[in-house]
């Protein structure tokens, strides 16, 4: 009899089986591969729904566990956590995942690596679901790494393109740096508390009586992992480059799920963070600064996917900010709604991209609203949701965060509001330039047409979700039944609403008349524009660090080693042996006379010695 507990494992392992089958057996059969992959994720969604209902009704769901590593003194168990948080996340991941899988049928049609793509997608689903279901830190770290690898494979999917391969490598390396802190944090927490299991830790952590320093160190190191995975400053640099991957990848991994894993993890270990107010503050400010920085860069970008990437960075900043303020429910709320509308936006962008034969520069587009009405409508809904316009979901989730800020941290609120304004601006800019007016480049945008159903249906589905997901605060109430919003009155809410609308208005002003490029904006901002366009030169700085600093260090080491080799090697053992050989060799001069002399002397010596 399959209990709910067994279903949990089915959800997790179905994508893995699909991935394995695709990679090993059905590489030459694209349709079968796609069917396997989609089947696994849809099954996952259905089962997640069942679990969701069970959790809603308060039934405990216990997945059978097994001892994975038994060292005598140490035991690691392979188990699953099914609670409200993970039930919600399961739905989001499988649901959005399923839509994107279907979308990929259309987007990747005709690609030589069609089957491989679905195999990698399934591998990713497995890894992501593993993060959601992880019951202890080690399990989470395992899937953390696996998600990183899936991302690496998918970003570099079109691997013959050097920029794609570089982007995949960059993503992995930057994530590894975050994992450096993460792993150390895990070791610290485990060694100090004696267990890695989340449930046990949550109960134990406050009672351990640790010093503030240790608490801060543990929380800070764990936060490093989130900084890497969720692309917060200063480890944000991989996300924009990750846009090299196919658009469904960007939608699924780099908008809805993988990058959200960092936020999810932080919510999962809330008890750890809450213990250290200094780190909470750090988290909040990191989120806020990332949000502002990313939004300001997005203002100057021309590639539609880059705009959305920076937008994702910015929204992730919001979520992290919320976590830092202790508002984890609000953060998860925004994570959920963001998954919907950001995936929607990315898929819409993808629809445009394939319609225009892989053109991504918005200033080559224009007038697409008429030619691609469904795409336009859904993109519009996505934009409004992202901007935080009532009554779409983004309004509710974003304002929940803003209201929490109003209570706890006014400077951050100002930061968030400025960011919201910028968000409205750059999204409207993208929308207007790409969809409205006339086509700027006839060759490119002239004969676009609407994408097929397999592409537009997911768009519509996500659009519906983007609209309704926020109503009645259903989601936060599910997470925390006692949730209530901080109430500051409707005037404040109207104020919040006004800000993105102002952003829209400014964008309409600047771009409404069919601007060909960013000349006006460039003039307005002056040197600031260049700074923003170059992403604050962070990438260049990192390149300097890696090439000059670490590379220089490596060169020094190599030089020292060379000297050591000379010293220990030539002067050392080999040298010693050779010197000894040289000494002895002198006797073998080749002079016959010497040989004779030595022979005679030797015999004489022996005779004398024997004769004694």
């Amino acid at each position: 009899m399959l209990t709910n507990g067994h279903l949990v494992w089915l959800i997790l392992f179905a994508p893995l089986l699909a991935a394995g089958a695709i990679m090993l057996f059905t590489r030459r059969l694209p349709r079968v591969s796609a069917a396997l992959s989609i089947g696994a994720v849809v099954l996952g969604f259905a089962l997640s729904l069942k679990l969701f209902v069970a959790v809603l009704q308060g039934q405990p769901v216990v997945a059978p566990s097994v001892v994975w590593l038994d060292l005598g003194v140490l035991q690691l168990t392979w188990a699953a956590t099914v609670d409200r948080l993970s039930a919600l996340m399961l739905l989001v991941v499988t649901g959005v995942g399923a839509t994107i899988h279907v979308y990929s049928l259309g987007y990747m049609r005709g690609d030589a690596g069609f089957a491989r793509f679905f195999g990698c997608l399934s591998l990713f689903m497995f890894s992501m679901l593993g993060i959601v279901l992880a019951a202890n830190f080690i399990q989470m770290f395992i899937f953390w790494e696996l998600v990183g690898v899936s991302s690496y494979l998918l970003i570099g999917f079109w691997f013959e393109r050097p920029s794609a391969a570089e982007a995949g490598k960059k993503a992995f390396n930057v994530n590894r740096i975050g994992d450096f802190g993460f792993l150390l944090g895990i070791l610290l927490v485990g060694s100090v508390a004696g267990t890695f299991n989340f449930a046990e830790l949550a109960a134990k952590w406050p009672t351990l009586g640790l010093s503030a320093g240790t608490l801060a160190l543990a929380a800070g190191l764990i936060f490093c992992g989130a900084v890497g995975k969720s692309a917060q400053f200063p480890l944000h640099v991989w996300l924009p480059d990750a846009m090299e991957g196919p658009t469904p990848v960007s939608a699924l991994i780099h908008a809805a799920t993988m990058v959200a894993a960092g936020v999810y993890m932080l919510c999962r270990v809330e008890w750890l963070l809450v213990a250290s107010p200094e780190i909470m503050n750090l988290i909040a400010w990191t989120g806020g600064l990332t949000a502002l920085m990313a939004a300001s860069i997005a203002v100057t970008q021309r590639d539609i996917k880059r705009i959305l990437a920076y937008s994702t960075l910015s929204q992730l900043g919001y979520m992290v900010m919320a976590v830092g303020l202790g508002a984890t429910t609000e953060a998860m709320f925004h994570l959920t709604t963001h998954a919907f509308f950001k995936a929607l936006l990315f898929l819409g962008a993808g629809s445009v991209i394939i319609a225009l034969h892989h053109e991504q520069d918005i200033f080559k587009m224009g007038g697409l609203a008429r030619k691609m009405p469904v795409t336009f409508a859904t993109f519009l809904i996505g934009t409004l949701a992202l901007g935080g316009v009532w009554p779409l979901s983004g309004f509710y989730s974003k304002d929940a965060i803003l209201l929490a800020e109003m209570d706890k941290n006014l400077p951050l609120l100002v930061l968030a509001l400025v960011t919201a304004g910028l968000t409205g601006f750059y999204m409207a800019r993208a929308l207007i330039v790409a969809f409205l007016g006339q086509a700027r480049d006839e060759k490119v945008a002239g004969h676009a047409h609407e994408s097929p159903l397999v592409v537009t249906l997911p768009l519509v589905l996500l659009a519906v979700l983007a609209v309704v997901a926020g109503w009645h605060d259903e989601i936060p109430h599910f997470l925390k039944p006692e949730f209530h919003e901080h109430d500051h009155g409707s005037l404040v809410l109207l104020g919040f609403l006004a800000i993105p609308l102002t952003g829209f208005a400014v964008a309409a002003l600047l771009y409404g008349r069919g601007a060909k490029d960013d000349a006006v904006l460039r003039r307005l901002l002056g040197p600031l524009y260049t700074l923003l366009e170059n992403k604050f030169y962070v990438d260049e700085f990192y390149l300097f660090l890696v090439d000059r600093v670490q590379g220089g260090l490596a060169a020094v080491c190599e030089g020292v080693d060379f000297i050591v080799v000379r010293g220990l090697g030539v002067g050392g053992v080999s040298g010693l042996a050779q010197f000894a050989g040289w000494c002895v060799r002198q006797l073998q001069g080749g002079y016959l006379r010497f040989y004779l002399l030595f022979t005679i002397l030797g015999i004489a010596a022996v005779l004398i010695w024997v004769g004694r």
């Binding site: 001069g589 080749g590 016959l592 006379r593 004779l596 002399l597 005679i600």
Partner: protein, 102 residues
């Protein structure tokens, strides 16, 4: 007249041996090394015969005969090698034979 005893023969033999040794070690010319070698052999012969005569047995003389034969054989071979070397190197100086230098 001085009575000539064993010791005198041995002394002469010893002196001859030493001279032969000196010759071997100090001479650079291969032929002269051979002469020194012959001297050594003959010094040994002298000593053997002396012992034989003063010891009253014949073994010494027998051995001396052997040595003469062997010396002859050895000289033949040695001179053959030297001649071959001379033909190769056009010189008899042993110092030049250094191919087996270590």
């Amino acid at each position: 007249m001085m009575h000539v005893g064993l010791i005198h023969y041995l002394a002469v033999s010893g002196a001859l041996f030493a001279l032969g040794l000196a010759c071997i070690v100090l001479r650079r010319n291969a032929l002269l090394v051979f002469m020194g070698l012959e001297m050594n052999l003959n010094a040994a012969n002298l000593a053997l015969v002396a012992f034989s005569r003063y010891g009253g047995h014949a073994e010494g003389q027998v051995l001396a005969t052997f040595i003469i034969a062997i010396a002859a054989a050895e000289v033949a071979i040695g001179l053959a090698i030297i001649v071959a070397l001379f033909r190769q190197r056009s010189s008899m100086v042993t110092d030049l034979l250094r191919s087996l230098k270590g």
